[in-house]
């Protein structure tokens, strides 16, 4: 490693899963018009990069791909402590699919080489495919270390502890490397009034396809999203109440025995 450590973090301005509502008559969610927010795990990714910078120095650059409104996610990252922010945007294609996002990020990395560690959330709150980090890594030929629960930086290398369904692993890779993190890795800080104010004044650099040396067709969609719909919930929603807690409790126990779910 030479010079201060360069940390990148990819963030997504995704659909807000709490505020998104289905149309009552069709049961479908209009994803393109749904309210958006910064994806949850991306906050963990920013937090991890900022903690490394606080310990070792260096810079944290937040990057996002999407329409200009995605700058909100960059403002969040800046308020959490990122130093700089980059928006990759294509007016012709405001919303790219996973392939498009990965190729856009890869194109930025090719034209602006020099990251040491690049953090991603292990999945997004809205789609949660968990593919973007490793996909970018494959595009640019970097190692990808996914599902990190603990990250330590050594001299020019990174040590990652992670958990799989049946195994725990410790793995090491030299810079540059791509890392995805889950929620267990840290508790992201809450931005202060001052950090939010400062973030709102920082410059966000913007790049389009021509500046990144790609043809717009390079990030044409490979998936067609037909519909998003809310499956019906068929629950009884039966309130159990009695004159006092003991009666209520007996009522509930009786109901569960009738259902055959209690011995």
């Amino acid at each position: 490693m030479s010079g201060p450590i360069r940390l990148w973090v990819a963030v997504k301005h995704g659909v807000d899963v709490v505020l998104a509502r289905a149309d009552r008559s069709t049961g479908t969610v209009a994803m393109d018009r749904a309210p958006r927010k910064t994806s949850d795990f991306d906050r963990n990714a920013v937090e991890e990069a900022v903690r490394i910078r606080e310990k070792l120095g260096g810079t944290v650059t937040a990057l996002t791909v999407g329409p200009p409104t995605s700058k909100e996610a960059l403002r969040d990252a800046l308020a959490l402590g990122a130093d700089e922010a980059v928006l990759i945007t294509d007016p012709a294609r405001p919303d790219l699919d996973g392939r498009g996002v990965a190729r856009a990020l890869a194109a930025y990395a090719r034209t602006h080489p020099g990251f040491d560690l690049w953090f991603f959330g292990e999945g997004s709150t809205d789609h949660f495919t968990g593919t973007i980090g490793p996909r970018v890594a494959a595009e640019i030929g970097a190692p990808s270390l996914s599902y990190a629960r603990r990250v330590s930086v050594e001299d020019g290398a990174v040590l990652v502890e992670r958990e799989y369904e049946h195994e725990l692993e410790k793995v090491r890779a030299a810079f540059p490397a791509i890392i995805t993190v889950g929620q267990e890795i840290n508790q992201p800080r809450v931005p202060t009034f001052m950090s939010t104010l400062k973030a709102s004044k920082k410059e966000i650099r913007s790049f389009g396809p021509s500046e990144l040396g790609v043809q717009p067709s390079d990030w044409a969609p490979l998936a067609r999203r037909d519909r998003v719909f809310v499956p019906e919930v068929n629950r009884k929603r039966q309130a159990v109440s009695g004159a006092d807690p003991a009666t209520t409790a007996r009522g509930l126990v009786d109901a569960l025995r009738r259902e055959g779910v209690l011995p």
């Binding site: 494959a138 049946h166 090491r172 030299a174 998936a223 039966q238 109440s241 126990v253 779910v261 209690l262």
Partner: protein, 317 residues
Amino acid sequence: MSGETVLVFSEEAEAIPGLLAAARAAVGPGPGRVELAVLADGGGPAGSAVGGADRVYRLLLPENARHDPELVAVALRRAQEAANPRLTLVASTKRGRETAARLAGATDSAVSTGVASFALEPEGVRIRREVLSGNALGEEVLLGPRPIVAVMLGAPVPAVPPTTPPEIIDVPPPEGAGRIALVERTVKPAGGLRIEAAERIVSVGRGLRKKEDLSLIEELARAMGAVVGCTRPIAAEAGWLSDDHWIGLTGHRVKPRLYVAVGISGAVQHLVGMRESTVVVAINKDPNAPIFAQSDFTVTGDLYTVVPALVRALSGA
């Protein structure tokens, strides 16, 4: 559709029979082919569960290489080139999703993970999967050549012994070493809590005021013959219970016959983990808590009153 090939791959031997069955169902009867790629890195039994595959590619990787998705994807790509499949199907495990993503990046193909169901259609591969943290289902069509699907598998399917031995092709190891060094791998101890298998679960959330009060919840679980589950704040933030108990989007997904949610408001990331339960009970102070809309029986009240009363009612007192 007929006459097409689905290539199946998993790092985990226990996933292979289920994948083979799903692939066979997708190609249908007739001339469709199911081919299988297995890891031969000495890290686990690979060639045993091959019943139902017309051909098997053994990916000869350096010993214990499965920690490096780049090496695995490079090898799988060679099998993919040889099989020329309509679809490459992997299990939507953590390793499976990572391998799928790297393979998609290397081949510039469509990929999706966490897929609940899929079908081969003339235009592409139609998939259905959970989106919006499990609040909704999404339908997509994966277009272009060499699509990759990571599918969610249910309970493991027993392996079928092959009726005729499949053709076996060895795929030589990639040139050069991987860029990720394995420092340590530990297999999680068996016999730990497998909350997915629980028939009844009593689960607790932020309504619980302090760690010591967990004894209340444990008592109720004992009285119901249930295991204790919890939400993310209780496991990941407070650390009152281990991750083995954590139910939700990034925790465990459960489908018990009875799920009792105590002091759980019902954040969407939690609901996705318990939505498949047969009967759901919610106990909460707030009658407007989102969990109530997802429950069969609701009790509005303070858990500190309701839970002890329930324990007494169950013990017949």
